[in-house]
Every structure is written in C-alpha cells, then in structure tokens.
C-alpha cells in the first residue's frame, strides 16, 4: 500500500508497454474503418506477417481522425481514402510518398420500399436531387471522414446544400460507417456507403443497393508511410516494407483475392513499378 510500490508497478508496466511497441517488428497503421470493418486486414495481415515477420497493429477510425492521429506521429502508416486530404498531408511534410493502392466504389443503399423512387438510377446527382426534392431522408456520416468528404462533394456537384435541411430530412450522425448504417436503417433513410462495408455489413434488414455504377462514385484508397523527419519515433523501415508489399504484385493479388460470398470487395490498382 505504499507509493513506492505503485511507482514500481507502473514502471514495470511502462517498460513492458514501450518494449512491445518499440520492437522493430511492429508497426501501427492509422486506417479508415471500411478496410478494417470489412475484414480486409484479417485477410491481409497474416499473409504479410508470414512473409516478413512484421506485426501490424491497426487503429481503425474515420479518415479525418486517422490523418490527425498520423500528424501527431501516432502511427507509422496511413491508409485512407480521401485523395485531396492525403495529398495535403504529404505536401505538409507529414508523409513522404502517397501511392494509389486499390479502389472500390460507393453505393447508395435504401429501403426496399424506395420512397424517393431512385432504384436502378445510374446518375448519382439526379438521385441525390430526387432525395432532396422528396425529402426522402438521408443519413450522413457527418464526421469529416473520407466517405463524408466524398458525399459532400457529390451534393455540391448536384448544386444542393443538404446541411440547410440538417435535422430535418438530412441527418448527420457524426459516427462511423457502421453506426451510420445502423442509424439510417433504423430511421428508413438513404445512406451512402462504400461497397466493401455494405457487403460485409451484418444488419441489412430490408435494405438494398439503389444507386451504383456512376463514375462519380469511384472510391480510391491510398497508402502513405509517415515522414521520419517529422516523426523520428516512427518505425519507418518496417512501414516502408508494409507499403511496398501492399503495392507489390503479391500484395495486390492478396487484395484481389479477398471475397465475401463470392464478391470481390477491393480492386487493386497500384502503379506497376
């Protein structure tokens, strides 16, 4: 019950924890949620570990938060899907090199009853306009994530300011993709989601994909090792090995081979070196 023993105990805990993270063979990835929630990492990381012996830990948060965390040097690799923000991250010197990694696409899901009657539309701007016109209900991430940024850009292109209806038919959940899907399904609203999350999502109820296939719904993922000049504590060598492996033929094949119910979730498109 004395103070010394407390300090002693925490010093031991501290040594242990530092050792675990600082070991050469461990890196931390600040990642968007879709890659984690869809199970992609569970498929990729064992393969990578078998090849290199490097242990990869993943913190899955929204793209906005992932970038912030990486700027604070709380990660060795950034893997997100918001190209403009990623390029700004590199330009500001937080990362050295951004590489296209893979893509999938966004879809708009909605209840089978389809109150805004957008089912089967291939023009996302027209679909969004119809949702806005009918006040059919739309649940937005509202969390500065990659998906949220993409959604806002689509509304802007359609010439609509949905935030003027915030709290009315436009509902900003301020949560992750899964939580927003749960909320949207709960209130019968349309939701824009990446296809990977949707395919692996377990609480679809009567929801189906209503809009897909527009080029504007393209969703590009990129990978960036952080800049060791900004973050000397980063495990930069292992981070580079991970990024290189992901973009190598072996990594790209591994991404392509990940399927749920026979459906491919991510399509590798790293530049061939």
């Amino acid at each position: 019950m004395n103070l010394q023993s407390i300090f002693g105990a925490s010093a031991i805990a501290l040594t242990f924890a530092t050792g675990a993270l600082a070991a050469d063979q461990t890196i931390l990835v600040q990642s968007t949620t879709s890659t984690a929630n869809s199970g992609l990492y569970d498929h990729l990381l064992p393969l990578f570990h078998d090849t290199t012996g490097i242990q990869v830990n993943v913190v899955a948060v929204g793209t906005g938060q992932a970038i912030k965390n990486a700027q604070n040097c709380d990660g060795d690799v950034l893997l997100v899907h918001a190209k403009t923000a990623e390029e700004a991250f590199v330009d500001a010197g937080y990362g050295t090199l951004r590489t296209d990694l893979m893509y999938n696409d966004f879809v708009i899901v909605g209840p089978a009853t389809d109150p805004a009657d957008i089912g089967g539309m291939a023009d996302v701007q027209a679909a969004l306009s119809k949702i806005a016109a009918t006040g059919g209900g739309f649940a937005s991430r509202g969390d500065d994530s990659g998906t949220h940024k993409k959604e806002l850009a689509l509304w802007a292109e359609a010439g609509i300011d949905p935030t003027s209806a915030s709290g009315d038919w436009y509902r900003e959940t301020g949560s992750g993709m899964g939580a927003t899907l749960n909320a949207g399904i709960g209130m019968g609203a349309y939701v824009m989601t990446d296809r990977a999350t949707w395919i692996s999502f377990g609480n679809k109820q009567d929801y189906v994909i209503q809009v897909e296939g527009d080029d504007a719904l393209f969703n590009q993922y990129g990978v960036i090792p952080v800049n060791s000049a900004k973050c000397p504590s980063a495990n930069i060598d292992a981070a580079r090995i991970f990024a290189d492996w992901l973009t190598s033929p072996a990594g790209q094949e591994a991404i392509a081979s990940y399927r749920i119910d026979g459906q491919q979730l991510f399509f590798p498109n790293a530049p061939k070196s």
């Binding site: 407390i6 931390l28 993943v58 377990g202």
Partner: protein
C-alpha cells in the same frame, strides 16, 4: 427483435466453444479495469478519507468539485489522455499510446474521483461515530485516516465496485487511447462497439451479455465478502 434470442445462443456458443479471442478480450477487460480500480483506490481513498476528517477553508467548494468530477465524460478523459500520450504530446516519449497501460491510466483518471467522492461520504459517516473516541485517544490525523480506512474496508469494497463498474462498462476513453487494436487493446466494450458498427448486432449483444455476467461475478464475489463481514459485525 430476433437479435435478442439469437444473442443468447451466440453467447452460449462462444462460451461453450471456449473461443480464444473472446477469452483474450475478457482477460484484458478484467486486467485493465481491475488495475484501474486498484490504482484509483490508492489515489482516491486517501483523498476521500482526508477530506472526510479534515476541516479547512474551501472544503465545501472542494466537495462540489469532487462530486461533479464523478460525472466526467469518458470521451473527454480519453481525449485528454490522448493529447498527453500522443507522440507529439508532452508524454509522447513514453510510447504509451495504444497500449493497455494507456487504457489503465485513462480509466484510473475516470474513476478516481468516483472513489474519492463516495469514500468521503462513507468515511465521514463512520468518522461521525468515531470522532469523539479518537480525539479522546489523541490520535493523529494519520492514525485516524488509517483506522477509518481499515474499519470502513467492507463498505469501501462497494465503493470500489462502483468504480470498477464504471470502468469496465465505459467505451469512450479506452477506444481513443487504446485504439481497439486486435490482440493488443481490444476489450469487451470496444469489441461491442466494433461489432455494432459491423452490423453484427447479435454478436455485439452476446458480448454485452457476457460483460454483464462478468460484472455479476465480480459483484457476487464482493457481496459474499460483505455478507461474511456483516456476520462478524464488521460492516
């Protein structure tokens, strides 16, 4: 509503098959929250006991602050700890972010005020009974505090339970400073949040049921201790 029935069968299946990942998550939950409760007790009990016996200017204001701190939002605690432990923060050099240690720190900060405020109440009542006798015996403040802590130990167990309950049930702080990293910092509540966000509601609910069972187990153990203490008239 089918999720609820399904949750029970999923929970039973997880337990029956001795799911290794589940076992790991449960152990980490207990490790983190019990450690935090212990540390918060070491910090909070002496503070609670001192405030219970001491009279000083500003004591009333301090009581209000202590009681208000019981309502600290876990997310705010998580954020504060994150800012300190982040590599770019003042304690970043320790490399503690995204480790169980960081989670223990956050939960300790979260529940130390609860333990201090509740133990202050318990010990003040006990002190009201003992005060005159202790003054008659010319006990020092230190002797008084130690005697109150010892004689109040069974009531303080309940205070510890309140702290543990808060710690093991919170998700806001541990998900920020722990990062919910698989096999490293994933605990019951962050696993529940993750499965919910994956739309696996039955699995999330099953984990919730197991968390409840664990909380029941800890409470039952403490209750048994208290019952035997009551028979001894030590409560």
């Amino acid at each position: 509503m089918q999720s609820i029935g399904e949750a029970f069968s999923v929970a039973l299946h997880l337990v029956a098959t001795g799911d290794a990942d589940l076992f790991e998550i449960v152990l980490l939950s207990l490790h983190v929250s019990l450690s935090a409760t212990l540390l918060a007790g070491l910090l909070g009990l002496p503070v609670g006991a001192l405030v219970a016996v001491a009279r000083f200017p500003g004591r009333g204001a301090l009581l209000v602050v202590m009681n208000a701190l019981m309502g600290l939002p876990p997310v705010v605690v998580g954020l504060l700890v994150y800012l300190y432990l982040s590599r770019s923060g003042p304690l970043g050099f320790l490399g503690l972010l995204y480790t169980p240690t960081a989670m223990i720190i956050a939960q300790t900060i979260l529940i130390a005020p609860i333990i201090a405020a509740l133990s202050r109440q318990v010990l003040e009542d006990l002190h009201a009974e003992y005060a005159e006798q202790f003054r008659s015996l010319c006990l020092s403040r230190r002797q008084t505090v130690l005697a109150l802590l010892w004689d109040g130990r069974y009531s303080l167990l309940t205070v510890g339970l309140a702290g543990f309950g808060r710690a093991v049930a919170e998700v806001g702080a541990v998900i920020i400073v722990g990062g919910n990293i698989d096999h490293l910092t994933r605990v019951m509540t962050t696993a529940i949040a993750l499965e919910t966000s994956k739309g696996n509601l039955a699995l999330a609910l099953a984990l919730g049921l197991l968390l409840l069972v664990i909380a029941l187990g800890v409470n039952a153990a403490v209750q048994t201790l208290r019952m035997s203490a009551r028979r001894q008239a030590y409560v």
